[in-house]
Structures are given as structure tokens and as C-alpha cells.
Symmetry: C2
Subunit: 203 residues, 2 copies
């Protein structure tokens, strides 16, 4: 940027927004719905907020939809430094631990760009999401799992093909979490997925 | 999708989400911050929601931040059918009118994919944003104008170069709207922009 910053709090936010912009260059394992390219994490974050707003009536008692939107807005910013972890990729406990450490470092750096009070506020939202203990976080986590399933379905398997996923693995890795936050949604989604896995003998 | 829909409301939402996904393939006049490619409207929507959350303390009396986020989440969905109108592109009154009609048609079709009650709710949010009468809509409109300015600055002019924009045009087309929703923000942003326009003799 040109010129002299006149307001340190605004200058700090400018730096944060520019850095956050790099989330648009983090590509995920799942495609956009037409299958033409991989989805980036910036547009993914927008899309799942749309899911969350649309699915507000599926939320259980105690879910704060406005906070769920904030969680989903911020939830993947750490991927700028730590990268995306495909849900169906094989992960050792060591790799999992390294990933978690990388995400904490990323949160330190990225939320640390903001004025301290605001950085702490955003980080607390991210930590609540990651901890998945509150009804709101459980709902938001559920939503985050729904969208890739639908994109894989729309793209004849998408990342299920890449990672040779079986239906029981989808149940274990994805279904359990969707069902926890949106109990009525998972049976419907599963019924949509089942024929694809049956047709490939991938149970 | 495969299988039989068991819940028409969910099936309607699936159709809406898939259609909304196409916003990731609508490209805008402004680049992402590193200048490497144009920004798409899906990721743009995520990014300006991040701006809105970060700038909550700039909001004037009567602004509902949670509603501003919903407005920004939904505000550009009509571009799937109606396309993006670059703010610095020359527009005749006829073209402007045609664009508005295209957006209304787009809203009919896209929000019409949802269960009626939800479609009406989303459409009302979009209409409130477009009308720019409430403090919340004025704030959201202001935020929508801030981000492209910063990306153009970061990309040595970006769409200002494309459309040969002068500083007085930036004031009139962008500054007025930013200042209306975030009065303290515009003087700072303008002070950051001024040297770029001065250096090019583009006042
Ligand atoms: Ca993720």
C-alpha cells in the first residue's frame, strides 16, 4: 500500500484482509459442483455459510445461527499457512498432531495480524469451532461436512474416487458428524449417496 | 443426484445450493490481492463478510451486524444469471435498467428454487440490501465497496487501470458510498489511494 497509515487499527486490518485473501489460493480435494476444477477454501467458506443459513431450521436447541455463520466465516483461515487436510486422505496420528500444531501456529500468526482485542475475539470463535463442544459448533461442523458430499455426488464421486472411499468410511468419517449436528439431514443425504457406492460395489 | 428425494424441502435446497455454486464461476473486474487472476463472486462474498465482521466497530447506530452478514452472503447471488456489473464500466441508463430487470428475473428464478417461505425470506434480505435504506443495508453496501479499492491498490491499480479511472471518479462512484456506511473509514482509504492517482496525474 501507498502512503502513511494514519490509523494503526485500520492498517492492521488491511494487513489481515490481504493475508486472508490467500485463502482463495488454497485448493481443496473436492471439486466445485460442475466438476470443472477444484474448489478453493475462500469460496468454500462462502458456500457453506449459505448452507448454514438455509439449514437453520435443522439446527437443534441452543444453536446460535449468527455465531455459526461467524464460525464458518473464520473456520478455515488457518489453512493459509497449514493447508487443507482432505477428510478422506490417510492420516497417521503423527501427521494429525503435526497438522494441529501447524494450525495453532497459523492462528497465532494470522489472528495476530489484527488489533489484539479483535484478534483474541476471532481466535476464540475459531477455538470454539475446533473444540466442537457447543451446540453451535456442532451444528457448524456438521454443515462443513455436508457440502463436499453433495459436490462429490454431483461430480460422479469426486474425491471419493480419488481416495477410493467405501460407504462405511463415508458413514464413519462424515455421516457421524453430519448426524450429530443435523440429525434429520444425514439419513436423507445417505439415501442419495448409497446408490453411487452400491453401483461400484464400494460398501 | 441419485436416488429418490424423500424430503421435498431438502431436495429444493440441494437444487438451490448446486445452482448457487455457479457464483464461483462468475468473474469480477477486480483481481485477487496478489493480482494473479480475477476474483470470482463466491470468494468475493466470503471476503467481504470477513471485512464486515472486522469492521463491526465502524458501524453506525442501528446496524445489525448479523443481518449485514446475511445480506453480504446473499447479495450477489443474482449475478449467476445477471452477471457482474463493474463499478467503473461505462453504463448507459438503458443498460442500467436492463441490468436491474435481469437481476429481478434472476432473483425470481434463484430464490424461487427454495421452499417458498425460505425463498421469500432470502429475497426480502436481498431486496433490503438493494434498496440501501436501512442503516444495516447502508453499512453492508459500504463494505461491498471497500474491498475492491484495497485490491486495486495492492495490484498497482487493478481495474482502475482497465477503466482509466480518475480520483474524482473514485470519489463519486465509491467514496460517497463508503463514507455513508463507514464515515471514519473513507478518509483513511482515500489517503492510501491518493498517491497512486497523483503519480499517474489521474485526478
Ligand atoms: Ca476445512
Amino acid at each position: 500500500f501507498y502512503g502513511e497509515p494514519v490509523d494503526p487499527a485500520l492498517a492492521a486490518r488491511f494487513a489481515f484482509w490481504c493475508e486472508a485473501d490467500r485463502l482463495k489460493s488454497v485448493y481443496r480435494a473436492t471439486p466445485i459442483a460442475d466438476g470443472s476444477r477444484k474448489e478453493n477454501t475462500g469460496e468454500h467458506s462462502w458456500h457453506i455459510m449459505l448452507y448454514a443459513l438455509t439449514l437453520a431450521d435443522q439446527a437443534q436447541d441452543g444453536v446460535d445461527i449468527a455465531m455459526a455463520l461467524k464460525m464458518l466465516l473464520l473456520h478455515d483461515i488457518v489453512e493459509i499457512d497449514a493447508g487443507d487436510t482432505p477428510i478422506h486422505g490417510a492420516v497417521t496420528p503423527e501427521a494429525q498432531k503435526a497438522q494441529e500444531e501447524a494450525e495453532i501456529k497459523a492462528a497465532d500468526r494470522l489472528f495476530g495480524l489484527l488489533p489484539p482485542e479483535q484478534g483474541a475475539e476471532f481466535r476464540a470463535i475459531w477455538e470454539d469451532f475446533e473444540a466442537a463442544q457447543t451446540p453451535t459448533a456442532i451444528f457448524a461442523k456438521s454443515i462443513d461436512r455436508v457440502q463436499p458430499v453433495l459436490h462429490n455426488l454431483a461430480d460422479d464421486g469426486g474425491s471419493w474416487r480419488t481416495y477410493d472411499v467405501k460407504l462405511h468410511q463415508l458413514d464413519a468419517r462424515v455421516g457421524v458428524k453430519i448426524a450429530k449436528g443435523c440429525p434429520k439431514l444425514w439419513p436423507y443425504i445417505r439415501s442419495q449417496c448409497e446408490p453411487w457406492f452400491v453401483a461400484r460395489g464400494a460398501l
